[in-house]
């Protein structure tokens, strides 16, 4: 679609200039392509803005300084005491920033991530066999509004140490657990492959492997140059029991799913808030704050009632 539109632009430009000097046409096309090229290079950075809601008081400069010190070296830090908001421009995983903020003794809740963004909560909800304690968060954000490319930020716990296949599947139906999310997302009808391979040599949903450390945690951040946030919303990410052989195995299955085995955890890719889009600090229903939310049941006596 994108190629098509670009072709139309070039075509109409060609008509417009056909009676004028051909040099002008060539020159303007040259400048145009230069501009496009510069834009592409400029947006290739893996740095992203992450916004946290932090319990802070207006005018508490001492705490703001403690916070700045704690976050030193992670990137550009912007503390807004009045709004209780901290924005960090960083190349580190969000979980690291989160832990550093909470190391100051205050609670923090991630409230915005990048520009157009999405999030998948990884668990085994809906699975008929609930045996894995795998849990985690995968965040996606567009690296540029104008071209494809998605930054993927993963933190998952409870995995067997070693490599695990990591893929986007075509559907977001978890009514039968990870079994009902369909095959790998593959709009170009390609073979299975490595995320490094050309688009025709991989499924769009092939994100390679996650490596879990001795504690069972996998933490990684990478950029996939082909994906777009809009096309993956509502689909699912799946983690498998075995390593993905990236299509290099000897069997036929290698070209389908990289012999990556059973699906052990998954989550639907959902819309999430970008920077400065989330001003809620408490549940509108009864006034429980964002920070207390994780300690409160959703209903019942324990839940404080506003009125």
């Amino acid at each position: 679609m994108r190629i098509h539109r670009r072709a139309t632009i070039h075509f109409s430009a060609a008509i417009k200039y056909q009676k004028q000097n051909k040099k002008i046409l060539c020159l303007s096309l040259f400048i145009y392509s230069l501009l496009v090229g510069t834009l592409c290079i400029g947006s290739e950075m893996g740095s992203v803005k992450i916004e946290f809601a932090v319990q802070m008081k207006k005018g508490d400069e001492a705490y703001a300084n403690t916070l700045r010190k704690a976050l030193d070296g992670l990137g550009e830090v912007d503390v807004d005491l009045k709004e209780g908001r901290v924005i960090v421009q960083t190349e580190s995983p969000w979980s690291e920033v989160h832990d550093k903020i909470e190391s100051t003794g205050r609670k923090a809740v991630l409230s915005g991530f990048g520009g157009q963004s999405a999030v998948a909560l990884i668990n085994t909800t809906g699975s008929v066999v609930d045996r894995t304690p795998v849990q985690g968060v995968v965040r996606f954000t567009a690296i540029s509004a104008k071209k494809p490319g998605v930054l993927v930020d993963v933190v998952v716990d409870g995995l067997e140490p070693g490599l695990h296949g990591f893929h986007i599947h075509e559907s977001g139906d978890v009514s039968l657990g990870c079994a009902s999310v369909g095959d790998h997302y593959n709009p170009r009808q390609s073979r299975h492959g490595s995320p490094e391979a050309s688009p025709s040599e991989r499924h769009a949903g092939d994100l390679g492997n996650l490596r879990a450390d001795e504690s069972g945690r996998a933490k990684i951040r990478f950029v996939d140059a082909e994906l777009e946030v809009a096309e993956i919303i509502g689909r699912a990410v799946v983690i498998t029991a075995s390593a993905d052989d990236l299509g290099l195995g000897a069997s036929d299955q290698s070209l389908i799913d990289g012999n990556s085995g059973e699906r052990i955890a998954c989550g639907i890719i959902a819309r999430s808030a970008g920077i400065m889009e989330n001003f809620k600090r408490f549940c509108a229903c009864d006034g429980v704050t964002l920070w207390d939310e994780r300690n409160k049941p959703l209903t019942g006596k324990e839940r404080s009632q506003k009125l």
Binding site: M1, R5, F11
Partner: protein
């Protein structure tokens, strides 16, 4: 001669546009679950959405169990982010920034789906049609969340301060992300999607026709 070329190109554009129209329905599903309550009950089940084509009404099927008898507010919330439980799904999906209302009201949030009326069995299986929500386009509900509330939604008609904002439906007892459930690789009707292809094809055909008629 020129006229026939122009006519045939225009015809081609029309056929291209017609050929792109979908004839398989678009489907989405949300697997809803909530925490186990003090009495051991737990809200769970599926909500499925079916739309026969872009811009058409959406048929909603709600199959849930573990609900208490009575009415429960039922809404599509703006985000599908469950990282902080049902709370992080934001407010009711309300792209037009209008007051809260009932599903049949003139003024309502896009996400206002009214109440689920549950009998003493605690199980509900209903199908109905909504004229406002859509599965496609930038304002589609895919990737957002359905939320079931503890209390009745007063549909904006109550005298509580939150009535015009939330319907005063209380806590969130169950939620789920609305996921794709169709065999679609290219999500139709979204900006720059199939609609874009159709219009750019027609424009291209017209431009080519003009270009040809000039050059002859």
């Amino acid at each position: 001669m020129m006229q026939s070329i122009v006519i045939s190109l225009a015809l081609c554009a029309t056929i291209c546009a017609a050929a792109q129209t979908r004839n398989t329905p678009i489907q989405a599903i949300a697997y809803v679950s909530g925490p186990v309550q003090a009495d051991g009950s737990q809200v769970k089940g599926n909500v499925t959405f079916t739309q026969n084509d872009c811009g058409q009404n959406v048929h909603v099927r709600v199959q849930l169990e573990g609900l208490k008898e009575g009415k429960h507010g039922f809404h599509v919330h703006e985000k599908g982010d469950l990282s902080n439980g049902c709370t992080s799904t934001g407010g009711h999906y309300n792209p037009d920034k209008v007051d809260h209302g009932g599903p049949d009201h003139e003024v309502r949030h896009v996400g206002d789906l009214g109440n689920l009326e549950v009998n003493s069995t605690g199980v509900i299986d209903i199908t109905y049609t909504d004229k406002v929500i859509s599965l496609t386009g930038n304002r589609g509900i895919i990737g957002r969340a359905v939320v079931v509330h503890e209390l009745e939604d007063d549909l904006g008609l109550g005298d509580h301060v939150d009535s015009k904002k939330t319907g005063n439906a209380g806590g969130r007892i169950g939620c789920g992300v609305i996921g794709v459930n169709s065999d679609v690789d290219e999500w139709p009707c979204r900006d720059g999607g199939a609609g874009g292809l159709r219009s750019s094809l027609s424009i291209l055909a017209v431009v080519v026709a003009l270009f040809l008629s000039r050059s002859v």
